[in-house]
């Protein structure tokens, strides 16, 4: 589903990723871990084309994304649900509209999207906050709204960048359970985290990065 071949990404004088090669199978749920600045976020950004690789090739859901231009980019992005590190929630819209945005962008009509938005909010246990605005929510709640928005369109791939960065251990465990549930429905999931507790005893594959280098993988 996701394939990196010798991928390198530079930012000015700094190399964020160096000759990275790995594959994520369809329906797999995997983690990518490393310290701050190891290149986790860059790796995810390359998948949803927020950044372009300087070298190597990346294939996502059959698309060779190095070659994607113009109109094809939004099509690729619609097949990927992203939980951004900074959530990227819109503060001038309530929780319902934030989650519904992912469906409206896909051209879904209001009457069709209502049940799906509430289903997503139910999965992250925030159905009762549908009318609240992001500013009125805690960091953990905002993170769960971001997850609800990423999963509402039932994308083939879900990417999560530090999805438990702002939550307590119990909520973290709840979030991971949510991802596992979504994964059992067939979505491919890649989670970037520096928190080793998050993937301990999950039985999932963990890719390790260190200062932009791929330093191995293990199943924990």
């Amino acid at each position: 589903m996701i394939n990196f071949q010798e991928v390198t990404k530079h930012y000015h004088n700094h190399t964020a990723l160096r000759k990275i090669t790995f594959s994520i199978e369809k329906g797999e749920m995997a983690f990518v871990t490393g310290l701050s600045g190891s290149g986790k976020t860059t790796l995810l950004k390359l998948i949803y084309l927020a950044e372009r690789p300087d070298e190597g090739t990346i294939t996502v859901a059959g698309w060779e994304i190095n070659k994607l231009r113009g109109k094809s980019i939004p099509i690729l992005r619609r097949s990927v649900g992203v939980v951004f590190q900074d959530f990227r929630l819109l503060n001038n819209r309530n929780v319902y509209d934030n989650v519904a945005l992912a469906l409206r962008i896909r051209g879904m009509k209001d009457r069709e999207l209502k049940s799906r938005v509430f289903d997503s909010l139910k999965i992250v246990n925030l159905r009762h906050r549908a009318d609240s605005y992001p500013d009125a929510l805690s960091g953990g709640e905002q993170q769960r709204i971001a997850i609800a928005r990423a999963i509402v369109s039932e994308p083939a791939i879900i990417l999560a960048d530090e999805p438990t960065g702002n939550v307590d251990p119990d909520t973290s465990a709840g979030i991971i359970r949510t991802f596992k549930d979504i994964n059992t429905r067939g979505a491919t999931i890649l989670i970037a985290t520096h928190n080793r507790e998050l993937f301990r005893n999950t039985g999932r594959r963990v890719l390790k990065l260190d200062k932009g280098n791929f330093v191995g993988e293990e199943t924990v």
Partner: protein, 288 residues
Amino acid sequence: MYAFRLAKQSILHEKWINLLSILTITAGLLFTSLTILSVYNLDVATKKLPEKFSMMLYMKDGSSQEELEDIINTAKKDPAVEKVKYIPKDEALKEFKATFKDTQFVLDGVGGNPLPDSIEVKLKNEAVTPGTARKLTEQLNKMKGIDEIEYGEKFLSSIYSLKVGMQTVSIIFVIIMSAGMIFVCYSTVKILFYRKKREIETYKLLGATKAFIRAPFIIEGAAIGFSSGILSLIGILLLYYVVIFRLINIFPLFKAIIFPVSISLFLPIAGILIGILGAAIAIGRIRY
């Protein structure tokens, strides 16, 4: 529909900047309409001029029938000429007497017939320009038998200079005003676009198409333009039905003003076009 909802929210949220744009564009549309109306009135006034315009060719005393026919044939051959009429001196005197029948003392001093034979040349309406009249005069003046050609050269030149001058100035004015109005809408939408930069970035990352991103801004631009068009339409109608109607009562001269009310109905359409164009330029190219 969602684009309309976003545009409505933005218009209400940014009401002051939008209101300022609407009032500025309204003023622009009002001035532009008044300029166009002035030129239109002048154009209508000068359009009737060619129907009354004719050139008078006065013949020398004792010129031959052959010379006369030669002149008439030459004039008729000119593509600018509509009609050529020969007026013998006797007929001219009859007309003269008919014109001055109430002032017999003028005729008392006139012994015999002092008037010459003449030819009246009427030009085609579209050919009544100072250039055509001058060219034809030069051509005919070379012919034998003609004493003098008269056609009110200075009057014709002044009217056409005024008309062409007004048209040129008004075209330049309308272009500058249109560019100004488009720029006002451009600036407004550009500011709103920058304020929503992060929101737009989120749309892009979630897979929004360019049309999805552009639509609310284009709708907002069109709404600003349409509102300006409606306000300027109200302004123009008020000007006509309140101000000019009252002025006509005081100064009957104002009756001559022609006010095509139907033309002002195009103001909202012009406003929409200005708004859409300004917004489209402001958004520019969207890159992923």
